[in-house]
Amino acid sequence: MARASSTSRKLTVTVFAWLVGLTLFFPVLWTVLTSFKTEAEAIADPPSLLFFNWTLENYVVVQERSNYFRYFWNSVLISVGSTVIGLIIAVPAAWAMAFVPSPRTRGILMWMLSTKMLPPVGVLIPIYLIFRDMNLLDTRTGLIIVMMLINLPIIVWMLYTYFKEIPGEILEAARMDGAQLRNEIIHVLTPMAIPGIASTMLLNVILAWNEAFWTLNLTAAKAAPLTAFIASYSSPEGLFYAKLSAASTMAIAPILILGWFSQKQLVRGLTFGAVK
């Protein structure tokens, strides 16, 4: 596949690609760098890229003043909780669709996909009112339910495409070997699908972590995750670049790291298996 190309051509491409890559990455890099500056240095003219007095002060201040970890913990609970519950509901459903397909399977899959296309704003009011009446506003439980539901179609679809790749004969073998359905799914299907389940989980944690419509509209203080935490910096008193950067860095760092691990699955998950 790899064609011999002259070294000079390769060097040109290298320089060019790095330039483009760094440009795209620059806002992230700049945010991280700024988070280690003092407020004065953060708005210095000319700005300094690396040669400033590195300080961790901003992180300390952000944590002390606005209790970053509480928001962080909310984000973790909401994204992981909704994904795990989603998986528990989706694994049996995907098993059924992948291994016992019926004439309706295709229709059900497409319908599930269609629920994902419902613009959130179209159901904002009812959900808001239902949540208000059920005392779910600004609760983690409420957000876990919503996140689970908006991501459930993606979870089912991703699992379905992974399960489809497992030969049905192996599950039949388990059935012949005397395994009940429960054992077939727990001892044979799930371990075989671990890579697929893991990437499904990863992608959905990322999506839930970054979701910023429902988290902003359904939380106030108690259950607010990091998206809402950062949004609170949009008010004028938040115009402290170094602290804003420190808060931003802490909000994106965990997911940036997870995201880099899940590039491949991201394509498959977000295109519902249409591009592999």
């Binding site: 004969e169 192996i170 039949e172 073998a173 388990a174 012949m176 070997d177 001892h187 371990p191 075989m192």
Partner: protein, 332 residues
């Protein structure tokens, strides 16, 4: 312990009936081979017996007990799949132990049985490897091991050798036959390869389009095919068929003569023909001969000297001529 009775069973997928009403009894300890061209319903029949598919109507009995509505797990049968269907995430040991674990046997008994099976099948050196690290033949043996530990009422094999290369296939064929001798458990074996059927079976069931064409021992089918389909399917190379006046001479609509029952001579004989293709195998020679009745295949001695275009004379062994009537049935 392994008498299987199929009583008027049928199978339809939607509108299409793949198996019209069918009766069959498989005796305890028999090695039965279902053979037929692809799409003849032999695998479906096996899956019906296994319980992986529902029968549309009719009854299946195993050792006299109704099994029609039992799930596969409760039928006490073991199956070896075409793809082996090993659990890729388990070691060989765990693969073989799986059915015993599902049956909730005590751990020491499981260990004993697994060790024993591994010994019998020469799997001991690989027992802690994963299926992915094994060769095709070894995987096949693991699949068999997983089947035998359960001591099932019968073994079901679904084209188990079709993923192996030719040499290995011959070996495994012998091993499975050997296993049958040792265990003397009922075995039902599905294949499209009539050589496998002839070499392994006690009883062959020839299927076409879901219908049983004939049931019998290998030699029975070879010597007394019930109809044109069986006559053409069993035996290699295929039987030659002649219709028209030459068949009428024998009082039949069609006559059939196997390549090995034609005597070939360069001097004289009953029929005259011109040599087309020749396949020299050393031990035998197969000639395609163009005769007045059409192309015929002939088996002759290894050093028979004939070139493309030579004239040869063929004489059928009169005792070996098979006669068929207009509907294709054999005339006895």
């Amino acid at each position: 312990m392994g008498r299987i009775t199929l009583d008027q069973i049928t199978k339809s997928f939607g509108e299409a009936q793949v198996i019209p009403p069918l009766d069959l009894t498989i005796e305890d300890g028999e090695f039965v081979v279902f053979v037929g061209p692809s799409g003849c319903g032999k695998s479906t029949l096996l899956r019906l017996i296994a319980g992986l598919e529902d029968v549309t109507s009719g009854e299946i009995r195993i050792d006299g007990k109704p099994a029609t509505d039992l799930p596969p797990a409760k039928r006490g049968l073991a199956m070896v799949f075409q793809s082996y269907a090993l659990y890729p995430h388990m070691s060989v040991r765990k693969n073989i132990a799986f059915p015993l674990k599902m049956a909730k046997l005590p751990q020491e008994e499981i260990n004993r049985k697994v060790e024993n099976a591994a010994q019998v099948l020469n799997l001991s050196p690989y027992i802690d490897k994963r299926p992915g690290q094994l060769s095709g033949g070894q995987r096949q043996r693991v699949a068999i091991g997983r089947a035998i530990v359960r001591e099932p009422a019968a073994f079901l094999f679904d084209e188990p050798l079709s993923n192996l290369d030719a040499a290995l296939r011959v070996n495994m064929r012998a091993e499975i036959s050997e296993l049958h001798q040792q265990l003397s458990t009922t075995m039902i074996y599905v294949t499209h390869d009539q050589v496998e059927a002839m070499t392994m079976a006690d009883k062959i069931v020839v299927l076409q389009a879901g219908v049983i064409e004939q049931v019998g021992s290998p030699l029975d089918l070879y010597n007394h095919p019930r109809n044109l389909f069986v006559a053409g399917f069993i035996g290699s190379p295929k039987m030659n068929f002649i219709t028209g006046p030459e068949a009428a001479k024998h009082g039949a609509h069609t006559i059939g003569i196997r390549p090995e029952h034609l005597r070939t001579s360069k001097e004289s004989g009953e029929w005259t023909g011109r040599v087309g293709l020749g396949e020299h195998l050393g031990s035998d020679t197969f000639l395609r001969v163009e005769t007045e009745f059409g192309e015929m295949t002939v088996r002759t001695i290894g050093d028979f000297d004939a070139r493309h275009g030579d004239t040869v004379y063929l004489t059928p062994d009169p005792a070996r001529i098979h006669r068929f009537d207009e509907s294709g049935l054999s005339i006895r």
